[in-house]
Protein backbone atom coordinates (compact mmCIF):
# COMPACT_ATOMS: atom_id res chain seq x y z
CA UNK A 1 0.00 0.00 0.00
CA UNK A 2 1.18 3.53 -0.78
CA UNK A 3 2.40 5.78 1.99
CA UNK A 4 -0.42 7.70 3.71
CA UNK A 5 -0.66 11.42 2.91
CA UNK A 6 -0.54 12.37 6.57
CA UNK A 7 1.05 10.17 9.18
CA UNK A 8 1.25 10.80 12.94
CA UNK A 9 3.62 8.46 14.79
CA UNK A 10 3.56 8.52 18.61
CA UNK A 11 3.01 12.25 18.57
CA UNK A 12 2.98 14.15 21.84
CA UNK A 13 2.86 17.89 22.20
CA UNK A 14 3.14 20.19 25.20
CA UNK A 15 2.43 23.89 25.34
CA UNK A 16 5.14 25.83 27.18
CA UNK A 17 7.31 22.74 27.52
CA UNK A 18 9.87 22.73 30.36
CA UNK A 19 8.07 25.41 32.32
CA UNK A 20 5.78 25.26 35.36
CA UNK A 21 2.79 25.93 33.10
CA UNK A 22 3.59 22.94 30.92
CA UNK A 23 0.43 21.45 29.53
CA UNK A 24 0.34 18.31 27.47
CA UNK A 25 -2.23 18.81 24.71
CA UNK A 26 -1.50 15.66 22.70
CA UNK A 27 -0.42 12.28 24.03
CA UNK A 28 0.84 9.39 21.92
CA UNK A 29 -1.20 10.07 18.79
CA UNK A 30 -0.98 7.52 16.01
CA UNK A 31 -3.04 8.40 12.99
CA UNK A 32 -2.90 7.92 9.26
CA UNK A 33 -4.92 9.82 6.72
CA UNK A 34 -4.99 8.59 3.13
CA UNK A 35 -5.07 10.84 0.10
CA UNK A 36 -8.65 11.60 -0.94
CA UNK A 37 -10.12 10.71 2.43
CA UNK A 38 -12.63 12.88 4.33
CA UNK A 39 -11.87 12.61 8.03
CA UNK A 40 -13.84 14.37 10.76
CA UNK A 41 -12.12 14.95 14.10
CA UNK A 42 -14.62 15.16 16.93
CA UNK A 43 -13.96 16.17 20.47
CA UNK A 44 -15.02 18.30 23.35
CA UNK A 45 -13.44 21.73 23.97
CA UNK A 46 -9.86 21.23 25.08
CA UNK A 47 -9.65 17.69 23.73
CA UNK A 48 -6.64 18.68 21.60
CA UNK A 49 -8.34 18.64 18.24
CA UNK A 50 -7.20 22.12 17.20
CA UNK A 51 -3.67 21.32 18.33
CA UNK A 52 -3.81 18.21 16.16
CA UNK A 53 -4.94 20.34 13.19
CA UNK A 54 -2.06 22.78 13.60
CA UNK A 55 0.40 19.87 13.46
CA UNK A 56 -0.74 18.95 9.97
CA UNK A 57 0.65 22.08 8.34
CA UNK A 58 3.61 22.59 10.65
CA UNK A 59 2.20 25.57 12.53
CA UNK A 60 3.12 23.42 15.51
CA UNK A 61 5.73 20.66 15.59
CA UNK A 62 5.54 17.71 17.99
CA UNK A 63 7.55 17.65 21.23
CA UNK A 64 7.91 13.88 20.76
CA UNK A 65 7.23 11.54 17.86
CA UNK A 66 6.85 12.82 14.33
CA UNK A 67 4.35 13.98 11.75
CA UNK A 68 5.02 13.24 8.09
CA UNK A 69 2.99 15.08 5.46
CA UNK A 70 3.36 14.11 1.79
CA UNK A 71 6.64 12.43 2.67
CA UNK A 72 8.05 15.49 4.48
CA UNK A 73 8.73 15.52 8.22
CA UNK A 74 7.15 18.68 9.66
CA UNK A 75 10.27 19.25 11.70
CA UNK A 76 12.28 19.76 8.52
CA UNK A 77 12.33 23.53 8.80
CA UNK A 78 13.66 24.09 5.28
CA UNK A 79 10.66 22.39 3.74
CA UNK A 80 7.93 23.96 5.89
CA UNK A 81 6.73 26.02 2.92
CA UNK A 82 6.36 22.91 0.81
CA UNK A 83 4.15 21.42 3.51
CA UNK A 84 2.05 24.58 3.74
CA UNK A 85 1.52 24.47 0.01
CA UNK A 86 0.31 20.89 0.32
CA UNK A 87 -1.94 21.51 3.31
CA UNK A 88 -4.33 24.46 3.31
CA UNK A 89 -5.89 25.56 6.56
CA UNK A 90 -9.22 27.27 7.20
CA UNK A 91 -9.82 28.73 10.65
CA UNK A 92 -12.82 29.33 12.84
CA UNK A 93 -13.17 33.10 12.68
CA UNK A 94 -13.99 34.13 9.11
CA UNK A 95 -13.00 37.73 9.81
CA UNK A 96 -9.49 37.06 11.02
CA UNK A 97 -8.12 35.14 8.06
CA UNK A 98 -8.87 37.37 5.10
CA UNK A 99 -5.96 39.68 4.38
CA UNK A 100 -6.79 41.74 1.32
CA UNK A 101 -9.38 44.42 0.69
CA UNK A 102 -11.16 42.60 -2.14
CA UNK A 103 -12.25 38.99 -2.57
CA UNK A 104 -10.19 38.29 -5.68
CA UNK A 105 -7.06 39.72 -4.15
CA UNK A 106 -7.51 37.72 -1.03
CA UNK A 107 -7.75 34.52 -3.04
CA UNK A 108 -4.57 35.60 -4.85
CA UNK A 109 -2.67 36.06 -1.58
CA UNK A 110 -1.52 32.43 -1.28
CA UNK A 111 -0.35 32.06 -4.90
CA UNK A 112 1.43 35.42 -4.62
CA UNK A 113 3.36 34.08 -1.65
CA UNK A 114 4.32 31.01 -3.65
CA UNK A 115 5.80 33.26 -6.33
CA UNK A 116 3.53 32.05 -9.11
CA UNK A 117 3.59 34.11 -12.34
CA UNK A 118 0.82 36.71 -12.66
CA UNK A 119 -1.19 35.17 -15.57
CA UNK A 120 -1.27 31.83 -13.75
CA UNK A 121 -2.46 33.55 -10.55
CA UNK A 122 -5.37 35.04 -12.50
CA UNK A 123 -6.28 31.61 -13.88
CA UNK A 124 -6.17 30.04 -10.43
CA UNK A 125 -8.22 32.83 -8.85
CA UNK A 126 -10.93 32.46 -11.52
CA UNK A 127 -10.98 28.71 -11.05
CA UNK A 128 -11.08 28.80 -7.25
CA UNK A 129 -13.84 31.42 -7.09
CA UNK A 130 -15.87 29.45 -9.62
CA UNK A 131 -15.49 26.28 -7.54
CA UNK A 132 -16.79 27.86 -4.33
CA UNK A 133 -19.47 29.83 -6.21
CA UNK A 134 -18.18 33.27 -5.26
CA UNK A 135 -17.36 34.55 -8.73
CA UNK A 136 -19.97 37.30 -8.74
CA UNK A 137 -18.59 38.70 -5.48
CA UNK A 138 -15.00 38.96 -6.65
CA UNK A 139 -14.77 42.74 -6.42
CA UNK A 140 -16.55 43.01 -3.07
CA UNK A 141 -14.65 43.77 0.07
CA UNK A 142 -14.71 41.14 2.84
CA UNK A 143 -16.87 43.19 5.24
CA UNK A 144 -19.69 43.19 2.69
CA UNK A 145 -19.97 39.39 2.83
CA UNK A 146 -21.88 37.06 5.16
CA UNK A 147 -20.00 34.68 7.43
CA UNK A 148 -20.60 31.71 5.14
CA UNK A 149 -19.42 33.66 2.13
CA UNK A 150 -16.27 34.74 3.95
CA UNK A 151 -15.48 31.13 4.80
CA UNK A 152 -16.00 30.16 1.16
CA UNK A 153 -13.55 32.90 0.16
CA UNK A 154 -11.09 31.53 2.71
CA UNK A 155 -11.54 28.07 1.19
CA UNK A 156 -11.03 29.51 -2.31
CA UNK A 157 -7.82 31.08 -1.04
CA UNK A 158 -6.64 27.59 -0.13
CA UNK A 159 -7.73 25.99 -3.40
CA UNK A 160 -5.78 28.60 -5.37
CA UNK A 161 -2.63 27.19 -3.76
CA UNK A 162 -3.52 23.75 -5.17
CA UNK A 163 -3.11 21.84 -1.92
CA UNK A 164 -3.57 18.09 -1.65
CA UNK A 165 -5.30 18.45 1.68
CA UNK A 166 -7.42 21.11 3.38
CA UNK A 167 -7.69 21.20 7.16
CA UNK A 168 -10.73 23.07 8.46
CA UNK A 169 -10.65 24.01 12.14
CA UNK A 170 -14.29 24.40 13.22
CA UNK A 171 -15.13 26.42 10.11
CA UNK A 172 -18.84 26.61 10.90
CA UNK A 173 -18.69 27.37 14.63
CA UNK A 174 -19.38 31.08 14.16
CA UNK A 175 -21.89 30.78 11.32
CA UNK A 176 -25.67 30.76 11.06
CA UNK A 177 -27.43 27.64 9.68
CA UNK A 178 -27.41 28.97 6.10
CA UNK A 179 -23.70 29.70 6.30
CA UNK A 180 -23.02 26.23 7.72
CA UNK A 181 -24.85 24.61 4.85
CA UNK A 182 -22.90 26.68 2.30
CA UNK A 183 -19.59 25.74 3.83
CA UNK A 184 -20.41 22.04 4.19
CA UNK A 185 -21.68 21.86 0.59
CA UNK A 186 -18.41 23.39 -0.58
CA UNK A 187 -16.32 21.02 1.54
CA UNK A 188 -18.16 17.98 0.19
CA UNK A 189 -17.80 19.20 -3.37
CA UNK A 190 -14.04 19.61 -2.92
CA UNK A 191 -13.73 16.10 -1.57
CA UNK A 192 -16.07 14.25 -3.93
CA UNK A 193 -15.46 16.23 -7.11
CA UNK A 194 -11.86 17.42 -6.81
CA UNK A 195 -10.52 14.55 -4.72
CA UNK A 196 -8.97 16.87 -2.15
CA UNK A 197 -8.28 15.26 1.22
CA UNK A 198 -10.35 16.90 3.94
CA UNK A 199 -9.67 16.99 7.66
CA UNK A 200 -12.65 18.62 9.36
CA UNK A 201 -12.33 19.57 13.02
CA UNK A 202 -15.80 20.00 14.43
CA UNK A 203 -18.14 19.37 17.27
CA UNK A 204 -21.25 19.37 15.14
CA UNK A 205 -22.42 15.79 14.75
CA UNK A 206 -24.48 16.52 11.63
CA UNK A 207 -21.23 17.50 9.91
CA UNK A 208 -19.24 14.54 11.15
CA UNK A 209 -21.81 12.14 9.66
CA UNK A 210 -20.78 13.26 6.17
CA UNK A 211 -17.19 12.08 6.65
CA UNK A 212 -15.67 8.77 5.51
CA UNK A 213 -14.14 8.30 8.92
CA UNK A 214 -14.47 9.83 12.35
CA UNK A 215 -11.67 10.29 14.86
CA UNK A 216 -12.87 11.03 18.39
CA UNK A 217 -10.46 12.79 20.72
CA UNK A 218 -10.49 13.23 24.48
CA UNK A 219 -7.77 14.75 26.67
CA UNK A 220 -5.20 14.68 23.93
CA UNK A 221 -5.73 11.06 22.93
CA UNK A 222 -7.52 9.38 20.09
CA UNK A 223 -10.20 7.36 21.88
CA UNK A 224 -12.37 6.13 19.07
CA UNK A 225 -12.07 5.86 15.34
CA UNK A 226 -14.20 4.33 12.60
CA UNK A 227 -16.86 4.99 10.01
CA UNK A 228 -19.63 7.31 11.27
CA UNK A 229 -22.14 4.49 11.58
CA UNK A 230 -19.85 2.46 13.81
CA UNK A 231 -18.83 5.42 15.95
CA UNK A 232 -22.33 6.73 16.55
CA UNK A 233 -23.70 3.31 17.44
CA UNK A 234 -21.64 3.54 20.64
CA UNK A 235 -24.04 5.91 22.29
CA UNK A 236 -22.89 5.20 25.87
CA UNK A 237 -19.21 5.76 25.13
CA UNK A 238 -19.96 9.03 23.36
CA UNK A 239 -22.14 10.23 26.20
CA UNK A 240 -19.32 9.48 28.63
CA UNK A 241 -17.06 11.63 26.47
CA UNK A 242 -19.63 14.41 26.82
CA UNK A 243 -20.34 14.29 23.11
CA UNK A 244 -23.77 14.31 21.59
CA UNK A 245 -24.94 11.76 19.12
CA UNK A 246 -27.16 12.89 16.25
CA UNK A 247 -30.74 13.38 17.46
CA UNK A 248 -32.17 10.49 15.45
CA UNK A 249 -29.46 8.16 16.72
CA UNK A 250 -30.28 9.17 20.27
CA UNK A 251 -33.97 8.62 19.59
CA UNK A 252 -33.29 5.16 18.14
CA UNK A 253 -31.27 4.34 21.20
CA UNK A 254 -34.05 5.37 23.57
CA UNK A 255 -36.61 3.41 21.60
CA UNK A 256 -34.39 0.35 21.89
CA UNK A 257 -34.18 0.83 25.64
CA UNK A 258 -37.97 0.81 25.72
CA UNK A 259 -37.98 -2.55 24.05
CA UNK A 260 -38.20 -1.80 20.36
CA UNK A 261 -35.38 -4.22 19.49
CA UNK A 262 -36.20 -4.17 15.79
CA UNK A 263 -34.71 -0.68 15.56
CA UNK A 264 -31.02 -0.87 14.65
CA UNK A 265 -28.59 1.13 16.79
CA UNK A 266 -26.78 2.70 13.87
CA UNK A 267 -29.39 5.01 12.39
CA UNK A 268 -27.86 8.28 11.25
CA UNK A 269 -30.42 10.12 9.16
CA UNK A 270 -34.06 11.03 9.48
CA UNK A 271 -34.93 9.12 6.28
CA UNK A 272 -33.48 5.92 7.68
CA UNK A 273 -35.51 6.41 10.83
CA UNK A 274 -38.69 6.99 8.84
CA UNK A 275 -38.08 3.80 6.84
CA UNK A 276 -37.50 1.74 9.95
CA UNK A 277 -40.51 3.15 11.77
CA UNK A 278 -42.79 2.54 8.79
CA UNK A 279 -41.81 -1.11 8.77
CA UNK A 280 -42.63 -1.59 12.45
CA UNK A 281 -45.60 -3.83 13.22
Amino acid sequence: MAEALIKFTDVSFSYSADSPQEFEALTGINLEIEAGEFVAVLGHNGSGKSTLAKHINALLVPTAGNVVVAGIDTRDFDRVWEIRQNVGMVFQNPDNQLVATTVEEDVAFGPENLGIPTPEIHRRVDEALELVGMNEFRLRSPHQLSGGQKQRVAIAGMIAMRPRCIVLDEPTAMLDPVGRQEVMDTVLKLNRQEGITIVLITHAMEEAILADRIVVMEEGRVVLTGVPRAVFSQVETLTQLRLDVPQVTALANRLRQRGYDQIPNNILTIEEMVNVLCQLE
Partner: protein, 265 residues
Protein backbone atom coordinates in the same frame (compact mmCIF):
# COMPACT_ATOMS: atom_id res chain seq x y z
CA UNK B 1 -22.86 56.22 15.37
CA UNK B 2 -24.36 56.00 11.91
CA UNK B 3 -21.92 58.67 10.81
CA UNK B 4 -18.98 56.35 11.42
CA UNK B 5 -20.11 54.29 8.47
CA UNK B 6 -19.78 57.30 6.20
CA UNK B 7 -16.11 57.73 6.88
CA UNK B 8 -14.44 55.98 4.01
CA UNK B 9 -10.71 56.30 4.04
CA UNK B 10 -9.50 58.24 1.04
CA UNK B 11 -13.10 58.92 -0.08
CA UNK B 12 -12.53 57.15 -3.39
CA UNK B 13 -15.18 57.88 -6.03
CA UNK B 14 -15.07 55.13 -8.68
CA UNK B 15 -15.06 56.37 -12.25
CA UNK B 16 -13.78 55.77 -15.74
CA UNK B 17 -12.21 59.15 -16.52
CA UNK B 18 -8.73 59.72 -17.93
CA UNK B 19 -7.53 60.75 -14.49
CA UNK B 20 -9.01 57.63 -12.88
CA UNK B 21 -7.24 55.39 -15.34
CA UNK B 22 -3.80 56.91 -14.96
CA UNK B 23 -1.23 54.73 -13.25
CA UNK B 24 -1.30 55.48 -9.49
CA UNK B 25 2.42 56.19 -9.59
CA UNK B 26 1.84 58.93 -12.15
CA UNK B 27 -0.77 60.50 -9.94
CA UNK B 28 1.38 60.31 -6.83
CA UNK B 29 4.38 61.87 -8.57
CA UNK B 30 2.22 64.56 -10.18
CA UNK B 31 0.65 65.40 -6.81
CA UNK B 32 4.09 65.59 -5.26
CA UNK B 33 5.31 67.97 -8.00
CA UNK B 34 2.20 70.06 -7.50
CA UNK B 35 2.87 70.33 -3.75
CA UNK B 36 6.43 71.43 -4.48
CA UNK B 37 5.02 74.05 -6.84
CA UNK B 38 2.71 75.42 -4.14
CA UNK B 39 5.65 75.96 -1.85
CA UNK B 40 7.81 77.54 -4.54
CA UNK B 41 5.42 80.22 -5.77
CA UNK B 42 4.54 83.21 -3.60
CA UNK B 43 2.52 85.51 -5.81
CA UNK B 44 -1.20 85.54 -6.42
CA UNK B 45 -0.70 84.95 -10.13
CA UNK B 46 1.37 81.87 -9.25
CA UNK B 47 -1.51 80.54 -7.16
CA UNK B 48 -3.91 81.35 -9.97
CA UNK B 49 -1.82 79.21 -12.32
CA UNK B 50 -1.78 76.35 -9.80
CA UNK B 51 -5.54 76.67 -9.49
CA UNK B 52 -5.78 76.44 -13.26
CA UNK B 53 -3.90 73.13 -13.20
CA UNK B 54 -6.29 71.85 -10.54
CA UNK B 55 -9.33 73.00 -12.49
CA UNK B 56 -8.03 71.14 -15.52
CA UNK B 57 -7.58 67.98 -13.44
CA UNK B 58 -11.05 68.31 -11.93
CA UNK B 59 -12.60 68.81 -15.36
CA UNK B 60 -10.79 65.76 -16.75
CA UNK B 61 -11.70 63.61 -13.74
CA UNK B 62 -15.42 64.49 -14.16
CA UNK B 63 -15.74 64.50 -10.36
CA UNK B 64 -18.80 66.28 -8.97
CA UNK B 65 -17.66 69.65 -7.65
CA UNK B 66 -19.51 69.09 -4.38
CA UNK B 67 -17.11 66.27 -3.39
CA UNK B 68 -14.18 68.56 -3.87
CA UNK B 69 -15.77 71.41 -1.95
CA UNK B 70 -16.73 69.01 0.81
CA UNK B 71 -13.03 68.45 1.39
CA UNK B 72 -12.56 72.12 2.21
CA UNK B 73 -15.35 72.32 4.78
CA UNK B 74 -13.40 70.73 7.68
CA UNK B 75 -10.75 73.36 7.03
CA UNK B 76 -13.07 76.25 7.88
CA UNK B 77 -11.71 76.58 11.40
CA UNK B 78 -8.09 76.52 10.30
CA UNK B 79 -8.82 79.02 7.53
CA UNK B 80 -10.40 81.45 9.95
CA UNK B 81 -7.59 80.98 12.43
CA UNK B 82 -4.92 81.53 9.77
CA UNK B 83 -6.66 84.60 8.42
CA UNK B 84 -7.13 86.24 11.80
CA UNK B 85 -3.62 85.45 12.96
CA UNK B 86 -2.13 87.04 9.86
CA UNK B 87 -4.58 89.96 9.75
CA UNK B 88 -4.00 91.03 13.30
CA UNK B 89 -0.49 89.89 14.12
CA UNK B 90 1.49 91.19 11.15
CA UNK B 91 3.31 94.48 11.63
CA UNK B 92 3.07 97.06 8.86
CA UNK B 93 0.85 99.62 7.23
CA UNK B 94 -2.40 99.85 9.21
CA UNK B 95 -5.58 99.82 7.12
CA UNK B 96 -8.08 100.09 9.94
CA UNK B 97 -8.24 99.59 13.65
CA UNK B 98 -10.90 98.06 15.93
CA UNK B 99 -10.07 98.82 19.55
CA UNK B 100 -6.56 97.51 20.12
CA UNK B 101 -6.69 95.20 17.05
CA UNK B 102 -4.88 96.54 14.04
CA UNK B 103 -5.34 95.14 10.57
CA UNK B 104 -2.35 95.70 8.30
CA UNK B 105 -2.08 95.60 4.55
CA UNK B 106 0.82 93.13 4.73
CA UNK B 107 -1.26 90.98 7.04
CA UNK B 108 -4.16 90.81 4.61
CA UNK B 109 -1.86 89.84 1.73
CA UNK B 110 0.04 87.22 3.75
CA UNK B 111 -3.18 85.78 5.20
CA UNK B 112 -4.90 85.44 1.85
CA UNK B 113 -1.79 83.85 0.42
CA UNK B 114 -1.52 81.28 3.17
CA UNK B 115 -5.19 80.43 2.80
CA UNK B 116 -4.95 80.00 -0.97
CA UNK B 117 -1.95 77.76 -0.47
CA UNK B 118 -3.84 75.70 2.12
CA UNK B 119 -6.99 75.33 0.01
CA UNK B 120 -5.05 74.46 -3.15
CA UNK B 121 -3.03 71.91 -1.20
CA UNK B 122 -6.09 70.15 0.14
CA UNK B 123 -8.00 70.24 -3.15
CA UNK B 124 -4.98 68.98 -5.09
CA UNK B 125 -4.28 66.04 -2.82
CA UNK B 126 -7.95 65.18 -2.56
CA UNK B 127 -8.06 64.71 -6.35
CA UNK B 128 -5.45 61.98 -5.89
CA UNK B 129 -7.46 60.13 -3.25
CA UNK B 130 -10.82 60.75 -4.93
CA UNK B 131 -9.71 59.18 -8.20
CA UNK B 132 -7.43 56.38 -6.94
CA UNK B 133 -8.69 53.36 -5.03
CA UNK B 134 -6.85 52.74 -1.76
CA UNK B 135 -5.57 49.43 -3.16
CA UNK B 136 -3.98 51.06 -6.18
CA UNK B 137 -2.64 53.85 -4.02
CA UNK B 138 -0.94 51.27 -1.81
CA UNK B 139 0.47 49.46 -4.84
CA UNK B 140 1.74 52.75 -6.20
CA UNK B 141 3.44 53.69 -2.95
CA UNK B 142 5.05 50.27 -2.69
CA UNK B 143 6.32 50.44 -6.23
CA UNK B 144 7.68 53.96 -5.78
CA UNK B 145 9.42 53.10 -2.52
CA UNK B 146 11.00 49.93 -3.85
CA UNK B 147 14.14 51.66 -5.17
CA UNK B 148 14.71 52.99 -1.63
CA UNK B 149 14.89 49.47 -0.23
CA UNK B 150 18.68 49.66 -0.31
CA UNK B 151 18.46 52.58 2.10
CA UNK B 152 16.47 50.45 4.52
CA UNK B 153 12.96 51.61 3.56
CA UNK B 154 10.69 48.61 4.15
CA UNK B 155 8.53 49.17 1.06
CA UNK B 156 6.69 45.86 1.03
CA UNK B 157 6.09 45.87 4.78
CA UNK B 158 4.66 49.39 4.69
CA UNK B 159 2.32 48.46 1.85
CA UNK B 160 1.23 45.29 3.67
CA UNK B 161 0.51 47.29 6.81
CA UNK B 162 -1.60 49.74 4.82
CA UNK B 163 -3.52 46.93 3.14
CA UNK B 164 -4.27 45.25 6.44
CA UNK B 165 -5.27 48.55 8.01
CA UNK B 166 -7.66 49.22 5.12
CA UNK B 167 -9.04 45.70 5.36
CA UNK B 168 -9.75 45.96 9.09
CA UNK B 169 -11.09 49.50 9.40
CA UNK B 170 -14.69 48.49 8.55
CA UNK B 171 -14.38 45.41 10.76
CA UNK B 172 -13.23 47.46 13.73
CA UNK B 173 -15.91 50.10 13.16
CA UNK B 174 -18.55 47.37 13.19
CA UNK B 175 -17.05 46.00 16.37
CA UNK B 176 -17.02 49.43 18.02
CA UNK B 177 -20.71 49.82 17.27
CA UNK B 178 -21.41 46.38 18.67
CA UNK B 179 -19.51 47.11 21.90
CA UNK B 180 -21.22 50.49 22.28
CA UNK B 181 -24.63 48.92 21.87
CA UNK B 182 -23.74 46.25 24.40
CA UNK B 183 -22.64 48.90 26.89
CA UNK B 184 -25.68 51.06 26.18
CA UNK B 185 -27.95 48.07 26.78
CA UNK B 186 -26.43 47.92 30.25
CA UNK B 187 -27.06 51.59 30.91
CA UNK B 188 -23.85 53.22 29.71
CA UNK B 189 -24.26 56.85 28.72
CA UNK B 190 -22.02 58.26 25.98
CA UNK B 191 -23.94 61.41 25.18
CA UNK B 192 -24.29 63.53 28.29
CA UNK B 193 -21.77 65.33 30.45
CA UNK B 194 -18.89 67.60 29.54
CA UNK B 195 -16.08 66.65 27.20
CA UNK B 196 -14.01 65.01 29.97
CA UNK B 197 -16.89 62.89 31.21
CA UNK B 198 -17.64 61.83 27.66
CA UNK B 199 -14.02 60.96 26.99
CA UNK B 200 -13.98 58.95 30.19
CA UNK B 201 -17.09 57.03 29.16
CA UNK B 202 -15.20 55.84 26.07
CA UNK B 203 -12.72 53.83 28.13
CA UNK B 204 -15.06 50.82 28.53
CA UNK B 205 -15.32 50.76 24.73
CA UNK B 206 -11.64 51.09 23.98
CA UNK B 207 -10.44 48.32 26.28
CA UNK B 208 -12.47 45.47 24.75
CA UNK B 209 -11.78 46.92 21.31
CA UNK B 210 -8.04 46.79 21.86
CA UNK B 211 -8.08 43.33 23.39
CA UNK B 212 -10.05 42.04 20.42
CA UNK B 213 -7.79 43.80 17.97
CA UNK B 214 -4.76 42.06 19.45
CA UNK B 215 -6.53 38.72 19.29
CA UNK B 216 -7.40 39.38 15.66
CA UNK B 217 -3.80 40.31 14.91
CA UNK B 218 -2.67 37.02 16.41
CA UNK B 219 -5.17 34.99 14.39
CA UNK B 220 -4.34 36.86 11.22
CA UNK B 221 -0.61 36.27 11.66
CA UNK B 222 -1.21 32.52 11.99
CA UNK B 223 -3.54 32.52 8.98
CA UNK B 224 -1.02 34.42 6.87
CA UNK B 225 1.73 32.03 7.83
CA UNK B 226 -0.49 29.08 7.00
CA UNK B 227 -0.93 30.62 3.55
CA UNK B 228 2.78 30.68 2.97
CA UNK B 229 3.47 34.34 3.74
CA UNK B 230 7.11 35.07 4.47
CA UNK B 231 7.61 38.71 3.61
CA UNK B 232 8.09 40.40 0.26
CA UNK B 233 10.97 38.20 -0.91
CA UNK B 234 10.10 36.06 -3.94
CA UNK B 235 6.52 37.25 -3.97
CA UNK B 236 4.68 37.77 -7.25
CA UNK B 237 1.76 40.11 -7.70
CA UNK B 238 -1.83 39.54 -8.78
CA UNK B 239 -2.13 43.09 -10.08
CA UNK B 240 0.68 44.57 -12.12
CA UNK B 241 0.93 48.33 -12.56
CA UNK B 242 1.50 49.44 -16.14
CA UNK B 243 2.92 52.72 -17.35
CA UNK B 244 1.31 53.77 -20.67
CA UNK B 245 2.01 56.63 -23.04
CA UNK B 246 -0.81 58.56 -21.31
CA UNK B 247 1.18 58.45 -18.08
CA UNK B 248 4.26 59.73 -19.84
CA UNK B 249 2.28 62.57 -21.42
CA UNK B 250 0.65 63.50 -18.11
CA UNK B 251 3.93 63.48 -16.21
CA UNK B 252 5.77 65.56 -18.81
CA UNK B 253 2.90 68.04 -18.88
CA UNK B 254 2.79 68.45 -15.09
CA UNK B 255 6.58 68.65 -14.80
CA UNK B 256 6.88 71.30 -17.52
CA UNK B 257 3.97 73.24 -16.02
CA UNK B 258 5.54 73.19 -12.57
CA UNK B 259 8.96 74.30 -13.83
CA UNK B 260 7.54 77.10 -15.99
CA UNK B 261 5.20 78.45 -13.33
CA UNK B 262 7.80 78.35 -10.58
CA UNK B 263 10.33 80.18 -12.77
CA UNK B 264 7.98 82.94 -13.94
CA UNK B 265 6.00 83.54 -10.77
Amino acid sequence: MAMMRNITIGQYIPGESVIHRLDPRTKIIATFLYIVLLFLVNTFSGYACSALLILLAVALSRLPIKYILRGIRPLAFIIILTLSLHFFMTEGHVIFQVGFLKVTQEGVVRGLMMVSRLVLLVVGTSILTLTTSPILLTDGIESLLKPLKGLGVPAHELAMMMTIALRFIPTLIEETEKIMKAQMARGADFESGNIFQRAKSLIPILIPLFINAFRRADDLAVAMEARGYRGGEGRTRFRVLRFTYKDVVALIFVAVFVVVVSIYF
